[in-house]
């Protein structure tokens, strides 16, 4: 099993969610996060005083998938989240040793 983690622009969340549903993803977790990449935050100006905002708001999407699905899910997320401009985010995949469904106690791929 693998965990696909994506950091995307907040306004792309709905697109990514819809795209994941079309490839059969049954569940995902979303959280609001902040950070910076190459775009390095942005500048705001209040009464002429410049204010450097280092962290940009992003959304983190986490999806647990079967090994065989991880490339397809990753591609779907990348395609749905891409705008082509700086700050589109990143997607990465990690190995997951075990998964348990809390309600039933099912383990491994049965719990996905």
């Amino acid at each position: 099993m693998r965990l696909v983690t994506a950091i995307v622009k907040p306004f792309k969340l709905d697109d990514v969610k819809l795209a994941l549903e079309t490839v059969g993803v049954a569940g995902l977790t979303v959280s609001e996060v902040q950070g910076f990449g190459r775009q390095k935050g942005h500048t705001e100006v209040y009464r002429g005083a410049e204010y450097q905002v280092d962290f940009v708001p992003k959304v983190r999407i986490e999806v647990l998938v079967d090994d065989a699905d991880s490339f397809r899910v990753t591609d779907v997320i990348v395609e749905a989240a891409r705008t082509g401009s700086i700050g589109d985010g990143k997607v990465w995949v990690t190995e997951v040793e075990d998964v348990v469904r809390v309600r039933t106690g099912e383990r491994g791929t049965d719990a996905l």
Binding site: P10, R47, G48, A49, Y51, V53, V56, P57, K58
Partner: protein, 457 residues
Amino acid sequence: MVNTGDTAWILTSASVVLLMTPGLALFYGGMVRAKSVLNMMMMSFGALGLISVLWVLYGYSIAFGNDVGYGLLGDPTEYLGLNGLMADVTSEAGGLPSMAFVGFQAVFAIITVALISGAIADRAKFGAWMVFAGVWATIVYFPIAHWVFDFTLADDDGVVTHVGGWVANNLAAVDFAGGTAVHINAGAAGLALALVLGKRRGFGKDLVRPHNLPLVMIGAGLLWFGWFGFNAGSAVAANNTAAVAWVNTLVAAGAASLGWLLVEKLRDGHATSLGGASGVVAGLVAITPSCSAVSPVGAILLGAVAGGLCALAVGLKYRFGYDDSLDVVGVHLVGGLVGTLGVGFVATAAAPAGVDGLFYGGGADQLWRQAVGAFAVLITSFVLTYIIGLVIQTTMGFRVDEEDEMTGIDTAVHAESAYDFTSLGGGGAGGGVGAPYAGGSRSTAGTANSAARGGSA
């Protein structure tokens, strides 16, 4: 016989001017961080409570009692506790009840004190502020209101029945609604107090963002609304002068907002909401002394100059290193000077005040009167405020300690938080998110809605 039209207008004006102080609380409150908005607003509400009481007890008498000498001070005992002012003493020809004028002038005293609080945001002990407010009103505002607002009166035979203040009568400077007594006065006091208290921690390094700009804009709107009472009400009658003042108040604020936005667009590349709201206030300040003396086109000119100049002046605190947190100096002192000195340039005899400025062939006569009045108030206010501030600083202490300032003055001083930021139902003690992000770089814009939609999926 009471003149019912005048009385209705003045009581209405007094009521809308009162609303300016809660409006100011919103204007200032939105500009500070979430951890100190309550304290910011409480400085205005504290002034509402304290100054209304002092005004009735002896403030009105110091400001509008018969002069005790040289036009500097009214007799504090003449109307002590508003003694003798309840009887209807209006003349046969019609007039205004004394109490209507007492009430109208009371709300001027309140907002002048409240204006100063913007210079010392986030760091003043509330008790020290209240002591300051009372002492400052007594020693600085009440006498200066006497200088500027108390006119000498004579009866039908030309016998003087009441002697007023020196700026209004001996100097004959035009200050219709308080460019000197209210705005230059509060601005100079703000500068002095900012110097006494010193900078906030992190001033100039961690720039502090306004936590709620919509509050600032609502506040500016309420100030604009109230200002019609402030300026048009200063005609002390429902008459032509009031109508001229009303229109000038409208258009000067509009022009100043444009002026401020233009400077921002050219200098920073963006026209900001804070700039638009600040420009409105800068224009209102500038038209306060001048609304009876200039034409509506003159008001546009004064407003535009005030908006542009104040937009530049708010940057001075970074260059000179004084932490006038919410720009009482940049907006009220500078705007007050623009309006008060501006009378000397763009006053026209066609306006109700009936004097010509330099640009209308009146020469420099009115200009020097304006300058003497403006700088007399500026210097007096600055020196007296500095002394009052220093005495409070060295006796009871004016500033909260470092920990309270960093944690947030709301929880430290008032034991309250303005907002409950906790999203997991874990209780709000300690101020939620507001406190830990002290001046830090944080942006939450735009994520709440999308995450909420995603979370329910």
